[in-house]
Amino acid sequence: MADWQIDLIKVVFIWAWALLIAVVMTWVERRASAMMQDRLGPNRAGPFGLLQPLADGIKLFTKEDIIPERARKILFILGPILFALPAFSTYAVVPFGDKIVIGGKEIILQVSDVNIGFLYVLALSAIAVYGMVIGGWASNSKYSILGGLRATAQLISYEVPMGLALLTIVLLYGTFSLREIVLQQQGTFLGFLPNWGFFKQPVGFIIFLVAAYAEANRVPFDLPECESELVTGYHTEYGSMRLGLYLFGEYVNLVALSAITVSLFFGGWALPYVDMGKFLGPVSYGIASFLVFFLKQAFFLFLFVWVRWTVPRFRYDQLMGLGWKALIPLGLVNLFVTALLVQLTT
């Protein structure tokens, strides 16, 4: 096979995989919330209600597509697309496994190992806000505009602590390539802890996680769509599959964010203490590394759901206070301490 064919297969595979996980996540979200609230949740369509996402999809596709009369049509259509696109594009740099050898050819399990992969992720998350803003503004309704307004303020505030937390990782590993960062997290540190970013940079991890929840608009940071005040915020006027794209884009975003969390802080595809490559064949090693990565990712996906149904929503001033008065100073101090430690130890 030529290189471009392999690349094409990788791209198609990872997109299909991300879509599948996002679909399953809509089911997990509803079932888990039911579990936590002592309800049953959707259990009629298929075994355990597993076909529920399919039923939802059919419903969304067959509903009437309404564009409000006074909305800006082109922008109204563009909004959901711009929202979902950056989330999908993140997968281009996520290392979802080590490497697999098929027919004597070594294939790295990552679409593209660009040396600035890390910054690419940051840039994409910065672009994602436009989907919400455009949708909110083009709807020409008060709730939508307020939702879009909140989205811009929130994203711009939480991008700073996220950047600060990620900078400490760059200082620690001295590279912007996600694959390099994962490779450097192999082995142990202090003799017994896995050599993970989480153990070396716990404060950075907490800041990153909080900022990630804010960037993904998840409870407790879902102020842009806040049902109790804004109906559903920036997508109030949307219906049918356009709404579906917004809702679905959110899950795709979650999958991407958990993948980044795993790669940066939890050793990516590698198991702690065990070197899988030693006793597994080249093909099974590739598959095993992919599965390990997915298991770790699944934990963080579940954490998103867990937090959503456990923690109440912030008030808007609390949200801004947390971002600017707590996370940013903490991030700056953490960056300073890390820089000092790196300077002293190397």
Binding site: N115, L119, L122, V133, L149, E159
Partner: protein, 165 residues
């Protein structure tokens, strides 16, 4: 001329014209977003991926988001910008700044011979470490000056905001 350059150059110029002619505020800002992204694509083409990413994350992701924030705060889709566009002092200011930019470009044209000539890239060109070295060794003074300038703006903004509270 190569196709890639032409594609994004035309995109940038077209979006730029749209930015200054659009009747509504938000579409105009989106035109500017397109300009930024087209420029980022051109930087990639010039083997400067780091600059391209900064272009997107800082200009498109931070500065323009602030502009959009102000637009959302002040202008609803039903309002049009004509009033602001008819303001003579804005127009005069725009003309002066525009003439200044054109003059800068014309002066820059003098050196275009050297730029167009093909040459091989130095080792590690565009790598983050190389840019860092340039910043902290060769251009340290400029770098620090820029940071002090930004700090001044920050302090001034806080002072102005506090005065009104």
């Amino acid at each position: 001329m190569d196709f890639y350059f032409l594609l994004f150059a035309i995109m940038a110029v077209g979006a730029g014209i749209f930015t200054i002619t659009a009747k509504d505020a938000l579409p105009s800002a989106l035109g500017l977003l397109t300009v930024f992204i087209a420029l980022a694509a051109l930087y990639l083409h010039l083997h400067a991926p780091l600059i391209a990413v900064f272009q997107v994350s800082i200009y498109a992701g931070a500065i323009l988001v602030l502009v959009v924030f102000v637009i959302m705060l002040l202008i609803t889709p039903d309002e049009e910008l004509e009033q602001a566009q008819k303001n003579i002092s804005y127009r005069a200011m725009g003309a002066i700044l525009g003439a200044y930019l054109v003059a800068l470009l014309v002066i820059g044209l003098a050196g275009i011979r050297q730029l167009v000539a093909q040459r091989s890239l130095p080792d590690g060109f565009g790598a983050p470490s190389q840019i860092g070295l340039l910043f902290f060794k060769q251009y340290l003074l400029h770098f620090e000056m820029a940071s002090v300038l930004l700090l001044v703006a920050l302090v001034a903004a806080i002072y102005l905001a506090k005065k009104n509270v």
